[in-house]
């Protein structure tokens, strides 16, 4: 039907899953980071790696929310905080098993996301952004002020190590290994989702909500589901963080961190697996570098916010799909679900 008219030579308009430097760099970075603490046996690198992997877990979820559902959250630090504080409070004050506490944190986070998202996500982008921003501020104030539960600014000390039964994650490198495993799990989950029925629905509604609804996609619900999923990922990251540092205080869970997560996500790009990880790694490294330099030269330490802000603007203006997708024309590029399953079916 009219298709024969066009020559077959036109066929390879599909982006081939060839070698993309950005992607290779992303994977190389990932492997390097994954192996660094093992090779160097360095506590510094392990804790650095933990930071990166923890952030990356949140950014993977944020990437699903922003890149595929087209929604923006400026309050993911709140879900991160809920995970961390659930673990801290339940294990130190109620003697709950760490794994159970982790699940409780994830559930609490999911519930909050569900409540928040139910009406807000039906609305335009800026509503959810502002709503989550407000939520983040409220959660932060609650942590600072709810002294009986959270010890306020003093924070909670003595969080036990994560005991998995067969292994107790009582050293930085071990905890780091566990965080990387969790990150890989989240990345795989995200990959699976993108190439699935609900994932296709998400990508579809990102392009046209009306057409997606006409295909039977419940747009509000699809957005809500991915919002909840990303909140759960953030909470898990929070729990892992609490068991790594074995101490929590309000400072790292502020609105600033929420915004920084958005920077990581946008800079890395949500369109590929390497994106969020590369974004988190790049951001964390630069931030640490500036912080270290700031010890010597004061004003260099103050450079971070300006730098991240300008990079954010530049990336949106000049490569809106993030650094990991510089050569990626279409949202999924060569790696479509179909391309993979077609072979084995």
């Amino acid at each position: 039907m009219g298709t024969e008219a066009t020559p077959l030579a036109e066929e390879p308009t599909t982006p081939r899953p060839g070698i993309r430097p950005a992607k290779v760099a992303g994977w190389a970075l990932l492997c390097a980071i994954a192996l660094a603490p093992v090779v160097a046996r360095s506590g510094y690198l392990s804790s650095m790696g933990c930071q990166i992997a923890t952030s990356a877990i949140i950014v993977v979820g944020l990437g699903l929310l922003m890149g595929y559902a087209g929604q923006i959250s400026l309050g993911h630090a709140a879900f991160y905080a809920i995970g961390a504080y659930s673990s801290a409070i339940l294990t130190t004050k109620a003697g709950v098993h760490p794994l159970l506490a982790l699940c409780a944190g994830a559930a609490a986070s999911a519930l909050l996301a569900l409540i928040v998202g139910t009406p807000a996500l039906r609305l335009h982008g800026h509503y959810l952004a502002m709503f989550t921003l407000g939520l983040g501020i409220i959660v932060q104030i609650a942590i600072e002020q709810g002294k009986r539960l959270t010890n306020g600014f003093d924070g909670i000390t003595g969080i036990p190590a994560l005991d998995l039964g067969f292994i107790c994650l009582d050293s930085d490198p071990r905890m780091y290994g566990a965080t990387v495993v969790a990150l890989v799990g989240c990345v795989l989950a995200a990959r699976n989702l993108v190439d699935s029925r609900p994932g296709r629905a998400l990508r579809a509604l990102h392009e046209s909500e009306e057409a997606a609804s006409a295909c039977g996609v419940d747009v509000a619900r699809a957005k809500l589901e991915v919002f909840v999923l990303s909140a759960v990922m953030a909470a898990v990251a929070g729990s892992l963080y609490a068991h790594t540092i074995q101490f929590v205080s309000p400072e790292p869970f502020g609105v600033q961190f929420s915004v920084q997560l958005v920077v990581m996500m946008v800079v890395g790009g949500s369109t590929s697996v390497g994106g969020p990880v590369a974004g988190a790694a790049l951001f964390t490294l630069v931030k640490q570098l500036l912080q270290d330099a700031g010890e010597k030269v004061r004003w260099v330490g103050y450079l971070d916010t300006v730098l991240f802000g300008s990079v954010l603007v530049l990336v949106v203006v000049f490569c809106p799909k993030g650094l990991a997708a510089v050569r990626l024309p279409a949202i999924l590029g060569g790696r479509t679900f179909v391309g993979e399953t077609r072979g084995d079916s």
Binding site: M1, G2, T3, E4, T6, L8, E11, T13, T14, A189, N192, L193, S196, R197, P198, G199, R200, A201, R203, A204, E207, S208, E210, A211, A212, S213, A214, C215, G216, V217, D218, V219, E225, V226, L229, A330, I331, L332, T336, F337, V338, G339, T341, R342, S345
Partner: protein, 277 residues
């Protein structure tokens, strides 16, 4: 063609009215689409045809009236519910998921037929994988039907306008709808493509969808394909009946068709569709 034993209409609107503030785009329009038939809808630009589709599918809330599907009141249901009950549509201004591949577009079209949720998708359970691979096969079958199977991997945005219209058709058909609403499917197609499309649309009722409602400006296509034709002018239905009758209708000629059309086209009338009673 006057059918004596008319079955119950599959889709019906009852005195549907839609006003955008002061502008009454659709006023008390009642149409009925019967199983196994094609209902053509014609009318000048801005008559309210697309708005009628939007009201039926729940894309815009209606001001008054009712929409019935198989006798069931579906008035005011959200779009995805209407879609899941068996109403599929194409859009006058093509709305494809341009960055997704051709076959993925069709797969989304079949969304309502799938079951796997977000949890099983994230875990990629065996049941999900099975569902996806059958879904892929079905989607490919629909692509073959419209002749786009060769381009299944391309991004939908890379197709020509004609191909995009076909893809929208495939996407809508993939839902296996009871009623298929086509909004100017031939717009932007050349004569040859329109010809093929016309043949194809005539094969849809009873086979791929129970009933078709066809908005079209191409008179030859409408008159040839439709079992019945409704004429809408400035929001009101001014005629409804077999193509031959509608073409003779004085009100229609005055409002819309014009004398020169009659001079050219009355001889053609409606051609019975081969192979169907």
């Amino acid at each position: 063609m006057t059918s004596t034993t008319t079955p119950r209409p599959l889709l019906a609107t009852q005195a549907v009215t839609k006003a955008f503030h002061a502008l009454v785009a659709v006023f008390e329009v009642s149409i009925e689409a019967y199983p196994g038939q094609i209902l053509g809808i014609i009318g000048p630009n801005g008559a309210g045809k697309s708005t009628l589709f939007n009201v039926i599918t729940g894309a815009v809330p209606l001001t008054a009236g009712r929409v019935l599907l198989e006798g069931r009141d579906i008035t005011g249901l959200p779009m995805h519910r209407v879609a899941r009950l068996g109403v599929a549509r194409t859009f006058q201004n093509i709305r494809l998921f341009r960055e997704m591949s051709v076959v993925e577009n069709v797969m989304v079209g079949r969304h309502a037929r799938g079951r796997s949720g977000i949890l099983s998708a994230v875990l990629r359970l065996p049941s999900t994988r099975r569902e996806d691979s059958t879904l892929l096969d079905r989607a490919m079958a629909y692509l073959e039907l419209v002749g786009l199977a060769g381009r299944w991997q391309q991004p939908a945005g890379a197709l020509t306008t004609g191909q995009q219209r076909l893809l929208e058709l495939a996407r809508a058909l993939a839902a296996e709808p009871k009623v298929l609403l086509l909004d100017e499917p031939a717009a932007g197609l050349n004569t040859r493509e329109t010809e093929t499309l016309s043949d194809f649309i005539q094969c849809i009722p009873g086979e791929l969808a129970s009933s078709v409602v066809l908005i079209e400006h191409d008179m030859r296509l409408v008159m040839r394909a439709s079992h019945r034709v409704a004429v809408i002018d400035r929001g009101r239905k001014i005629a409804d009946g077999p193509p031959a009758e509608v073409q003779e209708d004085r009100a229609v000629i005055a409002a819309y068709l014009g004398d020169d059309f009659l001079a050219r086209d009355t001889s053609r009338g409606r051609r019975p569709v081969e192979g169907r009673p």
